[in-house]
């Protein structure tokens, strides 16, 4: 049986859709972990990146923090915080938020930094306050890159939230880790397929968001991951 057949059979089996180990429950849990971690990372990294981009300083610090954050292994943080906090929610929040912060931070900084200085000069010339410049000029122009950072972070967190299952949590990772332990190929394959589908859905959602809120003329900008 091909991979796709195996996954299809598992996905469409009725039992998969009921009970506490069913796909709906696990999906909701996975989205909870992803959503909350992403929200916290955004609250920390977005204002910081935007502010530093506006002030046009701290580029070296941002790159260093981003590098450092990217290097932190999620499994290691997961286990460390679990052991130190006896299993509090910080156990999964800290590693997943740490994963999401670098792309959001770097892209927010680069986005605002990359705003044409002529625009901000003109705005200053028109008498706008720094705060107004930020709100009316820099953030709108930087929007594509801000969204890009959020999108990259979201996909990384969706893929990595599977590891939360290692400390007994739920989410789609449950299928992968349990299937691995019981040597059940179809469960692992199904779980992996669901994660990829979710990531693609998140990608599509961000594309839609981009269409909706980014003005036509700003749609083409280069990426920084």
């Amino acid at each position: 049986m091909s991979y796709f057949q195996i996954v299809w059979q598992w996905l469409t089996a009725a039992q998969q859709w009921h009970g506490s180990n069913g796909i709906p429950d696990r999906l909701v849990q996975h989205l909870e972990y992803t959503g909350i971690a992403l929200a916290i990372a955004t609250v920390i990294a977005l204002p910081l990146g935007v502010a530093m981009g506006h002030a046009r300083r701290g580029g070296f610090a941002i790159v260093s923090v981003a590098n450092f954050g990217r290097a932190l292994p999620t499994l290691g943080l997961l286990v460390l915080v679990y052991v130190l906090t006896s299993g509090s929610p910080a156990s999964w929040l800290v590693p997943l938020a740490a994963l999401a912060i670098p792309p959001i931070l770097v892209n927010a900084y680069e986005g605002v930094l990359g705003v044409d200085p002529e625009l901000t000069d003109a705005a200053r010339g028109m008498g706008m306050s720094e705060w107004q410049i930020l709100r009316k000029v820099e953030v709108p122009v930087a929007l594509p890159l801000l969204l890009l950072g959020l999108r990259i972070a979201a996909i990384q967190v969706v893929a990595t939230a599977t590891i939360a299952a290692y400390i007994g949590l739920g989410g789609l990772g449950r299928y992968i880790i349990d299937g691995l332990a019981s040597n059940e190929y179809n469960v692992v394959a199904g779980g992996a397929a669901l994660v990829v589908l979710l990531a693609l859905a998140v990608q599509a959602a961000f594309m839609l968001l981009r269409q909706l809120i980014v003005p036509q003329g700003l749609r083409h900008q280069t990426r920084s991951s």
Binding site: Y3, N67, F68, R70, A71, L72, P73, T74, L75, G76, L77, V79, L80, Y82, V83, L84, I155, V158, A159, T160, T162, I163, Y166, G173, I176, I177, G179, L180, N183, Y185, V188, A189, G191, A192, V195, V196, A199, L200, Q203, T222, R223, S224, S225
Partner: protein, 229 residues
Amino acid sequence: MSWAWANRAMLAHYLGQHLYLSLMPILFGTVIAVPLGIACVRWRWAWPPVLSLTSIFYALPSLALFLVLIDYTGLTDWTVIIPLTLFSMSVLVPNVVDGLRSVPDPVRQAAAAMGFGMLRRLIQVELPLAIPVVIAGLRVATVASISLVSVGQLIGIGGLGYLFTDGEQRDFPTEIYAGLVLLVALALAADAVLLVARRLLTPWERGRVRRGTRRVLAVAWLGSRTDAT
């Protein structure tokens, strides 16, 4: 920490294994990504499907691939190296494509005007000029690869990841700290090496340059390579 010193042989063993398990995927990923990226620039219709494929590998949890591969590659390093190669490749291909596309048109045209054939143009002009963007992608892929190797510990092949799972099982935070410190140090060292490599490979960017000057410098450098006697 005295514990770390007392167990330095064990730590060195896992550090070495980790280095091996993270460098191989980068090497193979690059070897695959560069030709693939070149092809996607040359034949534009290939880029959307390749991009979709690489997006899937980016989102696919490597952990899932481990179990699939055990049947084929057994409990060997390849079971970890192959999924990580696919991940590295998924980070690098877009960068290769971006890098090649970012070569300024005037430079390309100048090369053509000087009689550079397509292959020569690619190897002597476009690839070198794409290096900064490619290395930017390499830095991300390398750090991510080093971090992801630890997940391989869930099938017993995880380099420094061993220190995380063993630290959890023995309620031993010191061990986990040791793993974190060594892993981050490894990642930062690798990043530094890539930065140095970038400086060495892009002589036309030495000294402080503004973005517009790069184009001029590139053309000048290009010209200097075909100086007549």
